[in-house]
Amino acid sequence: MMRTGKILRVAPGYNPNSSSLGVDVAFLLFGSIAVTTLTLVVGSAVRLWRRTPSSRRDGV
């Protein structure tokens, strides 16, 4: 099976606040379930994005 690597970290949401990283505490409560869910959702979004031809530009 082809190795696909790992999503190491997901920081959900936008942070409008002055220099403070906001942590949504509910994700912590749900532990591994939150990790699995975020990995699946974010992974799907990333792979969907990279399938579109216009996304093939390299990063910064």
Binding site: V10, W49, S55
Partner: protein, 408 residues
């Protein structure tokens, strides 16, 4: 607003992708980045471990557009005044350009009262054009219906500062502005769902956060972010009276959890509350995955002040150099980045050190009198002090020649 295309930035461990659907910033390892079509990069030399050094650029930057505000909040952490300094529009745009070149994803525009600046929306639109997501914090006092309509079209998230309801707002801020803040929230919420509340938690309101969260829910807001009271600006003089009691500090994490579940709204804690979260011993793996970090100044985040100077955190720290100097990010921020390697006890033996990073440096500097001491509000630090009464918490600090240039 249409969703923005994702953006990717190479990092030593692989890369970071910023998404607008779902709104998130995801760190990918090299293998994952390769699997979605990114190629090997010069940054992929050496260690591939996340956390083995600072990021190549912050993921978000707080652009402090001004120290100008007429509200006069008693605890204003930038000590804003009606005629305080402000970054000019030209400089603000140039700062945005610099952040775009660095690959920064999000910029938090604030002050002072950023909404008072006539060029705020133009700067935010410029950020959008350069691929950054602009977000905004405001007191809400100057928000009009026209501003709400235009702001909703450009900002990713807008939070209004509200530390209590009715008379509690007046007690916390020193003036009666609750009705106007509530009106601002209603105007903004009528235009966008991405509106929330920033609530500074102090000794006075820590036991009465429920009504604020319930009220935010009743306005159909998206989040309540709880922020620790900081001993900076005008807050420095009243910190001793406003700082949380040890019991309040210990309970802030379960309280935030309960309030979020009870009222079905996202409740967030700011990074200075990290020691209070880690005191409950959550899974390190999960906390790391979710980016639950203590002081991430000079790494994940940083600030640019109204004089154009980089600073690790807008609450404090040394000026690192002007934003126009492209070498600052690489060579600066030692006051933030070096704590974990110099951490004294009890931080040195704490299993959460790599995540917590000693809690809030600004609180340590103001309350303990030493930038390099552990955060005195940390429950573990307080327990350690109680069990080691004769052993002062010493500052291991940086070595005496720290950051001095090598003379050939």
């Amino acid at each position: 607003m249409a969703s923005d295309p994702p953006r990717f930035r190479y990092e030593r461990f692989g890369g970071i992708v910023a998404l607008s659907r779902p709104r998130s910033v995801a760190y990918l390892d090299r293998e994952y980045a390769r699997s979605i079509g990114f190629h090997d990069h010069p940054r992929w030399r050496g260690s591939a471990a996340l956390g083995d050094g600072p990021l190549s650029a912050p993921t978000e930057v707080h652009l402090v557009l001004s120290r100008r505000c007429s509200a006069g909040c008693t605890g204003c952490y930038v000590g804003a005044t009606p005629d305080g300094p402000a970054l000019s529009e030209i400089d603000a745009r140039a700062a945005i350009d610099r952040l775009a070149e660095m690959g920064v994803f999000h910029v938090a525009l604030g002050g002072g009262e950023a909404v008072d600046l006539p060029y705020l929306l133009d700067v935010a639109r410029h950020a959008r054009r350069r691929g950054l997501v602009p977000n905004l914090t405001t007191s809400g006092l100057p928000v009009s219906d026209m501003f709400a309509r235009e702001a909703a079209a450009v900002f990713g998230q807008i939070n209004v500062s509200v530390d209590g309801l009715g008379a509690e707002y007046s007690r916390a801020r020193g003036y009666d502005g609750f009705a106007r803040a509530e009106r601002a929230l209603q105007l903004l919420r009528a235009r966008t769902p991405h509106v929330g509340v920033n609530c500074v938690v102090s000794r006075d309101n820590a036991d009465r956060l429920g009504p604020v969260v319930a009220w935010a829910r009743s306005l159909r807001l998206s989040e309540v972010e709880l922020l620790r009271f900081k001993p900076t600006g005008r807050g420095a003089g009243i910190f001793a009276d406003r700082d949380l009691t040890p019991r309040q500090a210990r309970l802030i994490y379960p309280r935030a959890l309960w309030l979020g579940l009870r009222h079905h709204i996202r409740v967030k804690l700011d990074c200075s509350f990290a020691p209070m979260i880690f005191a409950w011993r959550p899974s390190r793996r999960v906390a790391d995955f979710l980016g639950v970090l203590g002081c991430a100044g000079g790494d994940v985040l940083a600030s640019i002040m109204p004089d154009g100077q980089w600073i690790g955190c807008s609450f404090g720290g040394p000026s690192e150099g002007h934003f126009r100097d492209p070498s600052v990010w690489e060579r600066g921020f030692g006051a933030f980045r070096d704590f974990t390697t110099h951490a004294p006890e009890p931080c040195a033996s704490c299993e959460y050190l790599a995540l917590c990073r000693g809690g809030c440096r600004v609180v340590a500097a103001a309350a303990a009198g030493d930038w390099w001491q552990p955060d005195p509000g940390c429950p573990r630090v307080q327990r350690w002090k109680a069990t080691h009464p004769k052993e002062p918490i010493g500052s291991s600090g940086p070595p005496p020649n720290h950051k001095l240039p090598v003379v050939a």
